[in-house]
C-alpha cells in the first residue's frame, strides 16, 4: 500500500480547494489550543489543515468528500492508535477529540475503503508533559489505550453486523456476500477478548466442523454457509437476528471488561496462533474462502495490542520492539501482495508456495511475540 505523504492538488475537487488553501496558510502554525483541525478526506487524499499542535485535547473534524466509506486515525509511534473514527460515509462530517499529553512525532491517516495502511501524514505535537517512565503507569496507559481500540472495533462490529443482518433478511445475497468478510474484520481483530465470554464466542463464530452434539449452528459461519453454499434457508433471517443480539451482548460486556497488560501480550500472541492454525490452512472460511481478510484482521488486532504496549516494551527491551516492527512489516508485505480491490484474493487462489511463505513469516513473527508477556511481566 502506497503511503501518500502529500496530497495531490490535481485530484481535489473544487469544494476541497478552500480547505487546501487553509492548510497551506496554517502549515507552520500550530492549531489553536482546542480549536478544530479540519481533515478533508477523499478517495485519494487526506488533507489535514494543520500538521503541528500543542499537547492537550486535539479536535479533528473530518469530512468525507470521496465516494468510499473512510476512517481517520491519529497514530503515535509504532501505529499506536491515539484515536480513530470509523465508518465515515461519503458526505458525512465526523469529529474526533483525542487527548495527546506527550510531545513527539505522530501520524494522521485516512483509510478510504477502510483498508490498508491509509494515506498518512506526519503530525508533530509540541509542549506537553514530560514523558513518565513509571512501569505501572505505562501499563495502565497501555490497557487504557487498548480498551479504546476494543471500544472502537466493537462499536464498528455492531454497526456493520446490523447492516449485514439487514442484507441477509432482505434476501440481498450478493450484497450480503460482499459485506460478510468486512463485517467479520472487526470481530477477528478482538477475538481473544470475545473468547473471554464463555458461550458468546461459539454462538457468534463457531465453525460447522466444530459443532458439539445438540449444538445449534449459528453465527457468522452459519450465514456464510447459507450465502456461499446452500442458498438462504427458511431460518436465515432468524439466525441473522440472533447474531445481532449476540454481538450486542458482547459489545455490552466488553465495556466492563478489565484487562491487564499481560492479557494484551497473550492476546497479541493468541491472534497469531489463530492465523497459524486456522487461516494459513484455509479452515476458517470453508465456504467463502475469505481467510485472508481474517488473516489481516488478526494481524491488525495483534499489532493493535502490541502498539498499546509499545511504551512499556520500548523501556524494557527496545531490540524486541524493532524485531516486532520488522516481522510485522514482513507479514504485512506478503498480505499486501494478495490484495484485490478493497480486500483480498480468495484463499483458493493461493499456491502452496505462497501458503508456505505465509506460514514461515507468521512463525518468524510469532516467536518474538511469544516473548512479550515475559518482558511485560518484569
Amino acid at each position: 500500500m502506497t503511503v501518500r505523504k502529500t496530497p495531490s492538488l490535481a485530484v481535489l475537487a473544487g469544494a476541497a480547494a478552500l480547505v487546501t488553501l487553509a492548510a497551506c496558510d496554517s502549515k507552520s502554525q500550530p492549531a489553536a489550543a482546542g480549536g478544530p483541525i479540519k481533515v478533508a478526506a477523499s478517495d485519494t487524499a487526506c488533507e489535514v489543515s494543520a500538521t503541528t499542535a500543542n499537547a492537550g485535547n486535539l479536535t479533528f473534524e473530518i469530512t468525507n468528500k470521496g465516494t468510499k466509506v473512510t476512517e481517520f486515525y491519529l497514530y503515535a509511534e509504532g501505529d499506536r492508535i491515539m484515536g480513530e473514527v470509523e465508518n465515515i460515509a461519503p458526505g458525512l462530517n465526523r469529529r474526533l477529540i483525542v487527548e495527546v499529553a506527550d510531545a513527539g512525532k505522530y501520524q494522521t491517516a485516512c483509510k478510504p475503503g477502510m483498508a490498508g495502511d491509509g494515506i498518512r501524514g506526519d503530525f508533530t505535537v509540541t509542549g506537553g508533559v514530560a514523558k513518565q517512565n513509571d512501569t505501572n503507569a505505562q501499563k495502565a496507559e497501555a490497557t487504557k489505550s487498548y480498551a479504546g481500540y476494543i471500544a472502537n472495533n466493537t462499536s464498528a462490529l455492531q454497526d456493520e453486523t446490523v447492516k449485514f443482518a439487514d442484507l441477509v433478511k432482505a434476501g440481498k445475497v450478493d450484497e450480503a456476500k460482499a459485506a460478510y468478510a468486512r463485517t467479520r474484520t472487526y470481530y477477528e481483530r478482538i477475538e481473544p477478548v470475545a473468547e473471554k465470554f464463555g458461550d458468546l464466542d461459539p454462538a457468534i463464530d463457531v465453525r460447522e466442523a466444530d459443532l458439539e452434539p445438540n449444538q445449534q449452528f449459528t453465527g457468522f459461519h452459519r450465514l456464510e454457509k447459507d450465502l456461499f453454499k446452500t442458498g438462504l434457508q427458511p431460518d436465515s433471517a432468524q439466525i441473522a437476528d440472533k447474531l445481532v443480539t449476540d454481538v450486542k451482548t458482547l459489545v455490552g460486556k466488553t465495556k466492563t471488561l478489565e484487562l491487564s497488560a499481560l492479557d494484551l501480550a497473550n492476546g497479541a500472541k493468541g491472534l497469531l496462533d489463530e492465523v497459524a492454525t486456522g487461516k494459513i490452512t484455509g479452515e476458517e472460511e470453508a465456504f467463502s474462502h475469505t481467510d485472508l481478510w481474517d488473516f489481516q484482521a488478526n494481524v491488525d488486532g495483534s499489532k493493535g495490542a502490541i502498539a498499546s504496549l509499545r511504551p512499556v516494551l520500548q523501556a524494557k527491551d527496545p531490540a524486541l520492539v524493532s524485531t516486532l516492527d520488522k516481522e510485522f512489516a514482513n507479514v504485512q508485505g506478503l498480505l499486501d501482495k494478495q490484495r484485490a480491490g478493497d480486500g483480498f484474493k480468495s484463499y483458493t487462489e493461493l499456491s502452496q508456495d505462497q501458503v508456505k511463505e505465509f506460514a514461515s513469516a507468521v512463525d518468524a513473527l510469532s516467536e518474538p511475540l511469544s516473548k512479550v508477556a515475559e518482558v511485560v511481566s518484569k
Binding site: D210, D273, A359, A373
Partner: protein, 419 residues
C-alpha cells in the same frame, strides 16, 4: 526351536541362554556381564520375550514397549474361509515372531535360490525385543460379507463425530487391525510387513502408523514417559498391578453381550495431530494450566509429587481453583467422569513435515476399554468440547476395533469369532 535354523546365530544363542539369564539375575552385575559376552552384546537375554499366549492378548496390559507399528487393513475377499485361514496363518506367524523366530523356519535365506525368501530378513540377528502382536476386528467386518453380522458386539459402535474432529478417511476405519509393539522399531516393522505379505489377496492395508516414545506406562515398574508437549503422560493410567481395575474397566465378560468376546476388550485408535509450534510459544504457566500438572515433576497443580492424588478443588490466590475448569487432567479424570477409566497405550509420532515447515507430529492414541460407549465416548465428548488443550491438537484419524481374547498354544485368532 530346531537346530536346522542355522542362520540366526545370535538369536539362537539368546534363547539358549534365556533360562540361564533368569537364574543368574540375582547374582548381580557380574552375571550380566557374562551374558553380554556370551550373546555378542545383547543384555536383554532374560527379558526380551513376552508370552504370546494367555487369557488376554499380549500388548494390552503387558508392559508397554518403546515402539509401535500399527496397521489397519480391509478384507478384499468375500470368502469367509479364506479370512478364517488367514487368521490361522497369522496366528502361527505371530507365535513365531514374538518368540524371536523367523516368520517361517529358515525363511530368510534357507528357502532356495529361486524363490523369494519366506522371511523378509530385516530382523535377523535382532533379539525378540519384547515384540507383541495384537489383533482387532473393526465394525465393518461385521457387515454381510462373512456372515458375521450376528456376532457384532453392541460395544463395537461406529464412533460418533466429536467436536473439532478433522478426520481423514485415509487414516480412519478398517476391517482389521494389527498392533505390533517392540523395543526395537525394526522388529515391529518386520512383523507387520510379514503379516501384510501373508495377507495379500485376502487383505490390503488401509492405513498404518509408526510410533515411538511410548506416551504412557502400563506398569508401576516403568517411569512415566513424556509426550511431545514435554509433559509426563499417562500418570493416572491403569497399571498391570491393578487387576481389579483391569477386570472392571478393560476386560469384557461373557455377559457383556457377545460371549465370544469374553477376555477381550475394545480398542480406540485416534491420530491426534499436535500443533507443536504454537504450543512451544505458550508460557510455562499457560502450559501447566492447560494440562493441570507441573512440567518438571508431573505433580498435579497444588501437589508436590507425580503420583499424589489429584485434588480438583485445591484453591489458590483469590479463591481461583489451581486446576482450571478446562484443564486436561480435570476433564479426563475419573473423578469428573463417574469413575470411568481407560487403559492408554499411546505413542508419539512424527511423520516428517506438513508442507509449510511445521512438524506433522502428535500422539497416536491407543486406548483399551470394556465398553467404549460408557468410557471413551463420554470422556472424549468432555475433552472435545471443553479441554483447553484442544486449541493445540486436532484429531485427524479414528478407528475402533473389538480385540478378541488371547489364545492357547494350539488355538488361533480365528477361533473365538468363527466358533
Amino acid at each position: 526351536m530346531t537346530s536346522t535354523e542355522g542362520t540366526r546365530v545370535s538369536r539362537r544363542k539368546l534363547f539358549g541362554l534365556a533360562g540361564a539369564g533368569v537364574a543368574l539375575a540375582g547374582a548381580g552385575a557380574a552375571a550380566g556381564i557374562g551374558i553380554d559376552k556370551a550373546t555378542s552384546g545383547n543384555a536383554e537375554a532374560s527379558t526380551n520375550v513376552v508370552d504370546f499366549h494367555g487369557e488376554h492378548q499380549a500388548g494390552i496390559a503387558t508392559p508397554a514397549q518403546a515402539n509401535l507399528h500399527f496397521a489397519a487393513l480391509d478384507v478384499t475377499t468375500k470368502d469367509r474361509e479364506k479370512l478364517r485361514a488367514l487368521l490361522k496363518t497369522w496366528t502361527e506367524a505371530a507365535r513365531r515372531m514374538t518368540a524371536g523366530q523367523e516368520v517361517v523356519a529358515n525363511g530368510a535365506v534357507g528357502s532356495g535360490a529361486y524363490a523369494p525368501p519366506g522371511d523378509t530378513g530385516e530382523a535377523l540377528d535382532l533379539p525378540a525385543s519384547n515384540l507383541t502382536l495384537t489383533i482387532g476386528f473393526g465394525p465393518s467386518l461385521f457387515d454381510g460379507r462373512f456372515g458375521l453380522a450376528g456376532k457384532r458386539p453392541p460395544q463395537l459402535i461406529d464412533l460418533p463425530l466429536f467436536p473439532k474432529d478433522k478426520l481423514d478417511p485415509a487414516r480412519s476405519g478398517g476391517d482389521l487391525c494389527i498392533q505390533a509393539c517392540a523395543d526395537d522399531p525394526q522388529v515391529a516393522v518386520h512383523a507387520v510387513r510379514n503379516l501384510v505379505r501373508l495377507g495379500f489377496g485376502v487383505t490390503e492395508v488401509r492405513w498404518s502408523q509408526l510410533g515411538f516414545g511410548r506416551s504412557s506406562s502400563t506398569s508401576r515398574e516403568q517411569q512415566t514417559p513424556r509426550n511431545l508437549f514435554g509433559f509426563k503422560d499417562g500418570t493416572n493410567n491403569i497399571k498391570a498391578e491393578e487387576p481389579d481395575v483391569l477386570r472392571d474397566q478393560v476386560w469384557a465378560e461373557a455377559g457383556d453381550g457377545q460371549a465370544w468376546m469374553a477376555g477381550g476388550t475394545y480398542l480406540v485408535a485416534r491420530r491426534i495431530r499436535m500443533h507443536i509450534e504454537t504450543w512451544d510459544r505458550e508460557t510455562l504457566d499457560g502450559q501447566e494450566k492447560i494440562i493441570g500438572r507441573t512440567k518438571g515433576t508431573g505433580a498435579p497443580l497444588g501437589q508436590t509429587a507425580e503420583f499424589d492424588e489429584l485434588d480438583l478443588d485445591v484453591g489458590g490466590a483469590g479463591g481461583e481453583k489451581l486446576i482450571p475448569e478446562d484443564a486436561h487432567v480435570r476433564l479426563a479424570s475419573h473423578q469428573a467422569l463417574n469413575g470411568v477409566r481407560i487403559l492408554r497405550r499411546g505413542y508419539n509420532f512424527v511423520d516428517g513435515s506438513d508442507g509449510v515447515g511445521h512438524l506433522e507430529a502428535g500422539l497416536f492414541f491407543l486406548a483399551f476399554n470394556r465398553d467404549t460407549r460408557k468410557q471413551y465416548v463420554p470422556m472424549q465428548q468432555a475433552l472435545s468440547s471443553k479441554d483447553a488443550m484442544m486449541e493445540y491438537v486436532q484429531h485427524t484419524g479414528s478407528a475402533h476395533f473389538a480385540v478378541p481374547p488371547g489364545v492357547t498354544r494350539d488355538a488361533s485368532w480365528a477361533d473365538a469369532l468363527f466358533s
